[in-house]
Amino acid sequence: MELLKQISFNLQNGFDEAVAELTKEAVEKQIPPDEIMNNGLIAGMNIVGEKFKNHEIFLPDVLLAARAMNRAMEVLKPLLIKDGIPVRGKVVIGSVKDDLHDIGKNLVAILLKGAGFEVIDLGNDVPAEKFISVAAEENAHVIGMSALLTTTMPVMKKVVDMAKDEGLYGKVKIMVGGAPVSKEFAKEIGADAYSYDGANAVETIESFFREDS
């Protein structure tokens, strides 16, 4: 247990080398990989998330913790797959077609990776079909779409409608974000959620998984 606490502590402080080393040590000591992930890495990341939300720490601190998390996941991922333990969740993310703005989307992707999610970033100017096909192929849990222009927002509805046609609706959670987007809009088009910023997106996706379990 002490070792997992050390992993959590080092992760909170962004010491990526130490987190990677301690994770290897934990594996050698036969601690089950899902326990290392849940009680070491994610436990640490949850504290980081909470502190970030309360303005006790800032984005760079979160990203450094995220980098440490990624280093540890490189060690754990093959073992988790071997054991048939699902990784934390897969998110397909992108800025919708004709929207070239991706700063907000990138921030969400960085934070999601940091929280231990697998992120498939489709970049910007992503057509509705692409979101659907990749989500289906990759067995993704979440589709995340971003828009900065009001003119590109209809693509979000198109994705929801296509998900319904393809039988993905309800199986894959669809979430939307971006400056012109709102909670009301998300509801109107039938999306599962709206997030007002990156940290909020992480919280929202985490809540999907809590609902499932």
């Binding site: 450094l64 980098r67 909670k183 007002y196 909020n200």
Partner: protein, 486 residues
């Protein structure tokens, strides 16, 4: 480069000082205290004891200006160095001695109690951008004769920051000095590490009362720093012009320097003031008026010219509530004061012509102070040249969020205000309850009160202070003190 704002040319400053000196030597100053008059007479001033009028000489003025130190240091209750009032160093302190408070919970404007004072002192412990506390208001649940010493006692008990204060009577000075001796342990230790500043106010025009002139003398005897709070009212109790008001301010303040330095050469003094424009439409003294703030900044330039540390009542508002006027007047005053380099900037928390303190406003003003303190650090290159490496990194990494340069300079370059300043996007703001600045300030008050930690002063010191205060209170018929029941 530290940005500095100036209003007066040296030529104009010299003219103002020259005229003020002429007034002191030819028209004189009224001082309603025979001991002080005798002392001045002994030093060669021409005194008319019947009229209580004293005429200074150029020699006396020169000699006392020469003796006055160019800096004042302050130390907190625990003895840590906190202030070096000199050059363009800037520190904020709350507005002092209000008779009312704006109740943060009911919104009522009312007389404050001891419980309010304790909350104030606890809150001040957590406001990082306001370096000293002041005895900000007068608890109305104790006799007036101890209301000055009791608020100092409460301040020393509940907050460790140095205290800007003042005595309302001649006798109160003694216990207020003894409380400080109890904290420091000896007269030498107190002289070495000053804990308080006493505000001493001449009466416009050109007059010192019995109490305030005696306070000056008593502070000087114990090397307790004083700030002179001259209050010319332009167009009423002073000339209507800004220059004329500054001539009067200079004369009154110089007369204070003379009193202090003749009593004790080298005693710490601060060239302060609370001048105001006079609004003849409402018969009020607007502290938020731009002319008031200009006089304050001008006086500061005169004080600096005389090599004295400076102070002014400038970062405050005449609004009655925490509204837009409160924010704009306080911000403008704080910004001008800091750019001007006023060493001790008084005002935060204060509303209604220096008569109402507000905890909510203190919390908001703390952020104004934070932003202003950032402003005066100016713009300096920090590993910015050559510029190409960081841009190469940016183009490669796509962002600089965790770059070493960012981590090194994020907090140094950017001031991050507390939760009272709204910087959320509108969706988040709605999600979190669509709070107004007043709502957020109220939450912040509760958070800071929750986070407060008791003083680390040793028990024997606390006991000594309590014995002193109780003895003083007993003189006025009180056998217990209200804070003991909190």
């Amino acid at each position: 480069m530290r940005p500095v704002f100036r209003l007066l040319s040296n030529e104009l400053i010299e003219r103002i000082i020259g005229e003020a000196r002429d007034i002191l030597c030819h028209l004189g100053v009224e001082i309603h205290n025979d001991n002080v008059l005798s002392m001045l007479s002994d030093h060669g001033a021409k005194v008319d004891f019947g009229k209580k009028l004293v005429l200074f000489t150029p020699d006396i003025i020169d000699k006392t200006l020469e003796a006055a130190p160019d800096s004042v240091e302050l130390f907190d209750v625990m003895g840590n160095h906190t202030h070096e009032l000199r050059d363009h160093n800037v520190y904020f302190t709350p507005g002092s001695a209000a008779i009312n408070i704006l109740d943060p919970r009911s919104g009522e404007i009312r007389k404050p109690s001891t419980a309010d004072y304790v909350e104030y002192a606890k809150l001040m412990s957590g406001l990082d951008n306001i370096a000293s506390q002041s005895t900000a208001f007068i608890p109305a649940d104790v006799p007036e004769k101890i209301s000055d010493s009791y608020r100092l006692f409460l301040s020393l008990l509940y907050c460790e920051k140095p205290v800007v204060t003042g005595a309302f009577t001649i006798n109160a000075f003694n216990v207020m000095k003894d409380l400080q001796l109890a904290v420091r342990g000896s007269a030498e230790a107190l002289r070495e590490k000053p804990l308080t500043v006493f505000s001493c106010c001449p009466t416009a025009p050109l007059k010192w009362s019995d109490v305030t002139s005696q306070n000056l003398v008593d502070c000087a005897k114990h090397f307790i720093p004083v700030e002179y709070i001259s209050m010319p009212l332009s167009g009423f109790m002073a000339p209507v012009t800004l220059v004329g008001s500054m001539v009067q301010h200079t004369a009154e303040t110089l007369s204070g320097v003379v009193l202090s330095q003749l009593t004790q050469p080298g005693t710490p003094v601060i060239y302060g003031g609370s001048p105001a424009a006079f609004d003849i439409r409402y018969e009020t003294t607007p502290m938020g008026a731009v002319e008031t703030q200009m006089i304050d900044c001008g006086n500061n330039e005169i004080g600096k010219y005389l090599n004295l540390p400076t102070q002014a009542y400038i970062a405050l508002s005449d609004a009655k509530l925490l509204d837009a006027q409160a924010g704009l007047e306080t911000s403008m005053g704080a910004t001008l004061a800091a750019l001007s380099g006023i060493n001790s900037i008084s005002g935060p928390g204060m509303l209604d012509f220096e008569s109402c303190q507000s905890l909510e406003k203190l919390v908001v003003d703390n952020e104004i102070c934070g932003m202003v303190l950032r402003l005066i650090r100016g713009i300096e290159p920090k590993e910015d040249f050559p510029a190409m490496p960081i841009f190469k990194e940016l183009l490669k990494e796509k962002h600089l969020l965790i770059a070493n340069h960012t981590r090194k300079y994020l907090h140094d370059e950017h001031y991050f205000p507390g939760a009272v300043i709204d910087r959320a996007n509108s969706s988040r703001w709605k999600e979190e309850g669509s709070l107004t600045i007043g709502d957020r300030a109220k939450k912040e008050i509760e958070r800071l009160l929750e986070a407060w930690k008791p003083t680390e002063l040793p028990d024997d010191v606390l006991t000594e202070m309590t014995v002193l205060m109780k003895k003083e209170a007993a003189k006025f018929g009180m056998d217990s003190l209200p804070h003991e029941d909190l």
